[in-house]
Every structure is written in C-alpha cells, then in structure tokens.
C-alpha cells in the first residue's frame, strides 16, 4: 500500500526504486475497482494504464484521477451525462496534457453531477457517489468522484472543476484539500463548460503541498484559452514556508457569529465552535484575524446571482449538445426533432430545469431585470471583496453548515436559515479568487472543512496560510474510514 502517501514521499520511493511506477498503477487500479464497488465513484477505470519512466519531475510515475468533464483523447469523456455517454474525444484538455508531459499517469475518470451542475454527487448518469466516511451520506459535488477517490487513497490527487464550490465543498465533506487557483491560471481548454465566466479548473489532494505541486505542473498560459495568463513568476510549492506572522485574515460576522442562528442545531453550533478553534490557531501563529460586517442584502443576494448567471451561461454553453456531431443521435428523419429527442432523453430533470431558468433569464424582456442586475450585483460583491483584500490577505470561513449531508436529506433545495453559509464559496467564483479548503476537524466523526480565499494572483499567500494551519492540525494526509 503506497497510494495513501504524499506526492513527495511517493517520488522519493520511486527515485530510490523502493517501489516502481508499475506497482503504483496496479495498486491504483485495484483500489479503483474496490472504491467503485463500494462508492460508485468512477465513470471509467483505465485498466490498460501504463507506468511511466521516473524522472526528476515530482509527478512522474505517479497515478492520478481526472473528473469526467475533462476531454481526454481516446478515453471516454461523458461529463456524467447521457448526452455524451458514448463520446470519445480526439483531443486532450491542456491541464491534463501538462500532467502527461510531466510523466503523470491517468488511471480513472471520476463521476460528477451531470456537467458539474449540482452540489450533491447524486445526478451522475452512473448513479450517486457515496461518501467514503459514510455510505449514508453524500460527498457533495460536483467533483464527487474525485473527492471520493482521493479521500479513499486511490490516488494522491484528482482533477476537479469548480463553478460555485464544486471542488471546495466535496473536499470538506470528504476530509481532504480542494484548491481552485485564480481564474485563468489554469487553462480551461478541454474542460466541458458549465458557466464559462465562473468555471475554474483545480485539484483535490490530501495536503496543501500536493495541491501546490499539482497546480505548479498544470498552470501556464495556453494559446487555446484567451482567459489564461502567464504565471511563470508564481511558484506555489516554493511559497510554502509556513511563515505567516503578520498576515491578516477576516471572516464575515454575519455568517460566523452564532447569535445570527437563533435556531441553530447542535451540528451547526459545533461546526462554528470548531471554526473558532481554527481562528484561535491562526492567531497563535501570528495571524491577525478580524470579524468584518458585510451588508446582509449583498450576502443574501449570493445564491440568486449565482443561479441566474450560471444557468444563463449554461443554457448557451450546452447548446452544442445536439447529438448530431457527437453523443448518441436522436432517432428522427427531421433534424430539429433529432436534436430535440437527443436532449429530451439525454439530460436529467435537474439540468432541464436549469436550462428553462437560463432561457427565461436571457429572454429579451427579462435580461435587464435578471441577467443584467445579477451581473451588477456580482460586480458589487467583487468590489466589496477587493476593498477588503486591500486590508486583509484573505477571507477565512467555515465550509457549509456542518459535515456531509444524508442522502435522504437531499432535495437540492436551500435551507433558508443557513443558506448563505452553504453558498458563500461562490464569492470565489464571482471574483475569480484563489480559494482553498482544508480539513479542520470532525463533527460526529465526520470531517468538516475551513476555506481561505484571497485576492486574484495571491495564490502563493493563500496556499501558504492554508499550509501553516494544516501543519498545526492533525488532518493532513488523512484517509477516509467508514464511521457509520
């Protein structure tokens, strides 16, 4: 058993020839099948994955997982949707290719909420992904399969994508690290789009250091993505010094202070108390932490703004799914009917609902009221954050209102009382901010997480703060074990 180790440990073993790449690949495949059986985490397991030569590259010879909404040449790439259940691309996403170029080995394609449009891990065309800590619970989503695979020790890292919180929330619920860098640091070329202005590539790992290593290997300006930028002066792994003295963090009082939740249940109380412990830890490391008040209306607008913008863009982005060029073709003599049949059969009801919302929002007579206003509020939220980032190095908040939810709890609706606590990670997508979730404790034996978000391009700082906190907690590198 090697794959529960960190990337640097594995690299060391490979270099010393104490283990071979072949052994690692075999182990990853065997574990993939095991985890697939237990938790239904994968769309494809690449049984013919080949070991690679071990070089000076940290990632060489080491297996990894890829969310199934990344285009991978000659390997089925479904987006966990029936509309692409037979789609084998002929090109590889830039970030995946960058990992291949370092000698990394893709061993599985992980399940997700259909096209990333969900937060539960239950709307995959292959069925729901179960949480490796408790089969009764969800992983959250949409990067459910990737979170499950990494938490289970199948691979040291797996790629995810994040439009609202799709990396950072499942990471918290599975007790691991989830990081999405500043918008454009990772090329989106080859990532199946959900909402282009909010979509981020990223990674799920079991340590901040591994996250830094993987993103260092994936990043770079890409001629295929005009929103990507040159980050050659950013060295994430090297930035992990653990020295955070004098750094300043803030949290949003409205979300964190218990007095704002008069009907708080035990779980929420524990979660917020646990968060305060993390704050105390931060302070003990020499970080200044302050509670900041943000206008309640602005916070309350978060979920609506997210729904409006993401549904609108999604409706348009997924108009290419017609079954004519790729995907199962609808049966009809008439081309419009052919397209209609493909889409009617292929999409799950949840997605169709979002398309209807997106379409409605973009209608000429509704654009000003919904779409344009949502864009304006997005701008207000981002401006407010940027103002705070002028004073503070980052925002620290608890992820969600507690640990992973039960399956029967789920109907993908929002509990009004804690809704903003569940949704605030979307701020990171609105601003394209670097944002990382790390595990910070347990509630009812189930992991919970804390998130740190910083200003654009400050990825080094954000990761270093997370690294410092992680170093003083006991959750780094933890592997999931079923607790109920």
């Amino acid at each position: 058993m090697y794959l529960d180790k960190s990337i640097k440990e594995l690299h060391g073993l490979l270099k010393k020839k104490e283990v071979t790449s072949e052994t690692l690949v075999k182990e990853a495949l065997a574990k993939s099948h095991d985890v697939e059986e237990k938790y239904n985490a994968f769309v494809t397991i690449l049984d013919d994955a080949k070991p690679t030569e071990v070089t000076e590259e940290l990632l060489s010879g080491i297996p990894f997982g890829v969310k199934d909404n990344y285009s991978t040449k000659d390997v089925l790439s479904t987006g966990s949707s029936n509309t692409l259940n037979n789609y084998v691309p002929f090109y590889t996403a830039t970030v995946v290719q960058n990992l291949f170029n370092k000698g990394a080995i893709m061993v599985n394609k992980t399940a997700l909420d259909e096209f990333g449009m969900g937060g539960t891990g239950t709307t995959c065309h292959t069925g729901p992904v179960l949480n490796p800590w408790s089969k009764k619970r969800m992983c959250a989503g949409s990067s459910a399969g990737s979170a499950c695979a990494v938490a289970s020790g199948v691979v040291p890292y797996a790629l995810g994508s994040d439009t609202g919180d799709s990396i950072r929330k499942p990471a918290a619920f599975c007790g691991i690290v989830g990081y999405k860098p500043t918008y454009g640091m990772l090329s989106r070329y080859g990532l199946f789009p959900f909402a282009s202005s909010l979509d981020h590539c990223g990674v799920l790992t079991r340590s901040v250091e591994d996250a830094a290593i993987v993103v260092d290997a994936m990043k770079g300006k890409d001629i295929h993505d005009m929103t990507s930028w040159d980050s050659s002066n950013i060295h994430l792994e090297k930035a992990l010094t653990g020295d955070v003295k004098g750094k300043k963090l803030f949290y949003i009082k409205e979300l964190v202070d218990l007095e704002n939740y008069p009907h708080a249940e035990k779980e929420l109380k524990e979660h917020l108390a646990n968060f305060q412990k993390t704050i105390e830890l931060a302070k003990s490391l020499g970080i200044e932490v302050e509670g900041v008040s943000i206008e309640r209306n602005l916070l309350n607008a978060l979920p609506a703004v997210y729904v409006i913008l993401s549904c609108a863009e999604a409706t348009s982005n997924m108009s290419n799914l017609t079954g004519i060029i790729f995907g199962p073709r609808g049966k009809s003599d008439k081309i419009m009917e052919m397209m209609m049949e493909h889409r009617t059969k292929g999409f799950s009801p949840l997605i169709k609902r979002r398309f209807v919302i997106g379409s409605y929002i973009l209608q000429k007579e509704n654009q000003e009221r919904y779409f344009k206003n949502a864009q304006r509020v997005r701008r207000l939220i981002v401006d407010e954050m940027k103002k705070l980032f002028a004073t503070y190095d980052g925002l620290i908040l608890p992820v969600s209102s507690g640990p992973a939810k039960y399956f029967d709890q789920n109907d993908d609706t929002i509990d009004e009382n804690t809704s903003i606590l569940e949704e605030h990670l979307q701020i990171g997508n609105f601003g394209g901010f670097p944002s990382i979730t790390i595990p910070n404790g347990f509630i009812n034996n189930l992991p919970v997480g804390v998130n740190i978000t910083g200003n654009c391009y400050n990825d080094e700082m954000v990761l270093n703060i997370a690294y410092a906190l992680e170093s003083h907690m006991d959750y780094k590198g933890q592997i999931a074990r079923e607790v109920e």
Binding site: Y70, S77, R188, Y189, M336
Partner: protein, 476 residues
Amino acid sequence: MKKQIAVIGLEMHCELKSNSKVFSSARNAYNETPNVNIAPVDMAFPGTLPVVNKKCVADALKMSMALNCTQPEYMYFDRKNYYYPDLPKGYQITQMAAPVGINGKIEIEVNEKLVPVYIHDIHLEEDAASLDHYFDTSTIDYNRAGVPLLELVTEPCLHSAEEAVAFLEHMRDVYKYCDVSEADTKKGQIRCDVNISIMDEDAKEFGTRVEVKNVNSFGGVYDAINYEIKRQSELKEQGRYAEVEQETRRWDEETMATIHMRSKVDAIDYKYFVEPNIPKYKITKEWLEELKQEIPRLHLERKYDYINNYGLSNYDATILVKEREVADYFEECVKLGITPKIAANWITTQILGYTNKYNITIKKIFLTPKRLKDLTDLINDGTISSKQAKDIFFKVLEEEKEIKEYVSSDNAQINNKEELMNIIDTIISNSPGQVEQYRAGKTNLFDYFVGQVMKNTKGKANPVLTKEILNQKLNN
C-alpha cells in the same frame, strides 16, 4: 393613390480574407472537398474555446474607418443563441452591444450622381457551416463554419433597386480595394438580407417592413426589391395594404418571387449576451492610427481626381478605378511622368485588353509602369511610331525583354530625310504609270505611294516625313 416611394435597408455579409478562421486555427480557404478545413472548435467539441484572430479584428476596424464609423473603446463579442444544424455551438459569436463600427456615412455614385448612404453598424462575426439538401438526405460542410464575416447594416435610406445594387457594388469595390476580401459573389462570399417597405411620398412614417433573407447575388437583390415594391404597391392599390405584414421572406431564384418564411410574431429571441471566453480589450488610438495608414485611397475619390485633375473622361476614369491594382498602375505611370491621358489610353486599350485576354493581373504584367514610360518616351522623341510602339508592346510581353532591345538599327524609325528621299526617288522612278495617273488628277493614289514606302521600309519610315517628301516630289 399617391405616389409611392420605396424605403430600403440592406444587411450585407462579406467573408474576410485571412489565413485562419476568426476564432479558430483552421484554414480559412475555399475548398471543394468538404470538411477538411476544421479545428475542434469549429465543430463545437465539448471544452473547445474561441481564440480571436487579430488580423480579422484589424481588417474589421479598417472597414469601420473606411465607412467613417465610430469605433468602440473596447473590443468584445456577444453570443447570438439559436438552434440550427449549421451552427455547431448552438450560438454564433458576433457583435451586438459594441460593433467595430456605428453611425457611418459614405457617398456612392448612382447614375453619375452622388447619393449618401448611412451606415447603422458594421460588425465582425463567424459564418455558419453550409448545408446541402438532397432528396432524402442533407449534408453539412464545416469548412465554412467559423469563417470571418463582416456584416454591414445600412439605415433604411435607399430608395430603389438601382441604388441598392450600386451600394453593394460600391462596397464590394471598397472591400477589394482594402484587400480584406475577395468579395466574390460566385463563391458565396457576399450574401444579403434586404428590408423593403413602401410609403406615400409625403408620409412621415415608414410603411410595413418586409425582410427578404439570403439573397446571394446582386441581380437577385435587384429583382427581389422590384418584386417586393410591385407586390406591396399592388396590394396598396387594391386597398389591401393591411395584408402586407411584418415578416421574413426569402428570394426564390427559380420562380423569381419572394416567399413567406416566418411572421414577426414568430421572430426568434436570440438571447444575446457577452461571450465570456473572450476577454474585453482596449482598442488603442495608436493601433487605430496604424490601421488607418493601411487604408488606401478609395475608388470614388480616385475617379474624381482623375476626371477633375487629369482631365480624363468619366468612361476612362471608371475603368481605371474599377480595380485597385489598375488604378495603382495608372498612378505609378503618372508619377513616372507619362501624360495621364496617354497612360489612360494605353491601360484601357492595350494593357487591359491583354490582361483580360490572358486572364492575368496587371501586377503580374511584364510591362511595368517603368517600361511603359520607356516605350512612350520613344514615341515622344520620335524614335518610333505609335504603330511600332504597339508592335513592340506585344513583343515585350511575349519575349520579356527591355524596351531598348527593340530599338536597334534595323527596326528604328527612319527619320533621316536624305535616306527617305532616296527610297522615295527609287519608288517614283519605278512607278512611272502611277505617277502619271496621280498627276493627271487621281490624287487618291497618294496613299499608294505611302504604302510603297512603308512596304519598302517594313513600316519603319516616319509617316509624317514620308508624306511631306512625297508631297514635294509628286506635286512639283
């Protein structure tokens, strides 16, 4: 019924020239073989992203300036969303909120009169794939998907089919002059939508507007406009103007009629919004200034210049400016010192006759303006006759040698009076009969003697001098 006037607005789509497509790296070239000029993004494979071709943006901005439009501060694109099999992404990337040009104005010439045309906007977008329908099957060719298109929208300011076609021809020439498009209707590079309504001559408000879509030739535009004017006028005359509805029709080449496609109530809501994958970027003054320098002097300006300043006829000037290469050739000739009228004569008769016959461009012709100057200089200084010049012209083109090679001793014009006198004396003494007849009054025999001199000198005798000497000899 009061006198009716037609109100016409045009939407002109023109494919731009470029190495690669407007948002993809696939080749932008006409190809008979379907589906060869394709990149993944042209077929909207999941995860592909558009990358803007800077050259296309530059050309679009140039055209915007050539039409005297206002350019936006920032360049960005919008998505136009609709489902159709020829549109792989399910949306077209176009410009809605901030086109490369708005509020332009140009003047065109219609029947030798200048007519102003107001430009609503001009914007850069991508073409769709092309569909072919057969008896029981349809085929899609993605070669055209993503080809850069400039769409120009005029205000409803034109009033006849003649004006509309004159505008289209004018614009075709502008595109060609600026070298941004081949603008070839035969290759489907220009396509038009036409908006037509009629109104009482003194009315303040426009009538009901009918849009005729996808008219693919200038002849089609002409016919479609006249068809619609007639159709709408007849309905009005019969008191049935209410039957003219705001609708989209299409022009059917076979029946020479417009046919109903959809009504206004069925109009598609394109749900425009900003394309998020292409970051906004600032159009700097410096870049615009640079691009402006690349816009050549346009044909109409040159034409009036030639007429007013060089004294050319409207006919000659029109021919000269029709193609930029020809006009440039002409101007180069004038610059080298050839008299404009003489240069114009050479170009409109000999040179264009030759280039048309052999289907080559004037740029490729061996007889450069410099060589034409050498040739005309020889005429001017009397070294050769005009007739000899024409012979040399063809020889030069055939043999591709310098002009001076043809002015050797054996083909130079004979200007030497003594030499000519000797030749003429011999001819006269050898033709006693003809001399007698001539002197007896048969004066049209004069040409016979000229002919003999030419025959004897293989056409090299200076004709003026020949006639002068013959006059002397025969009449004394």
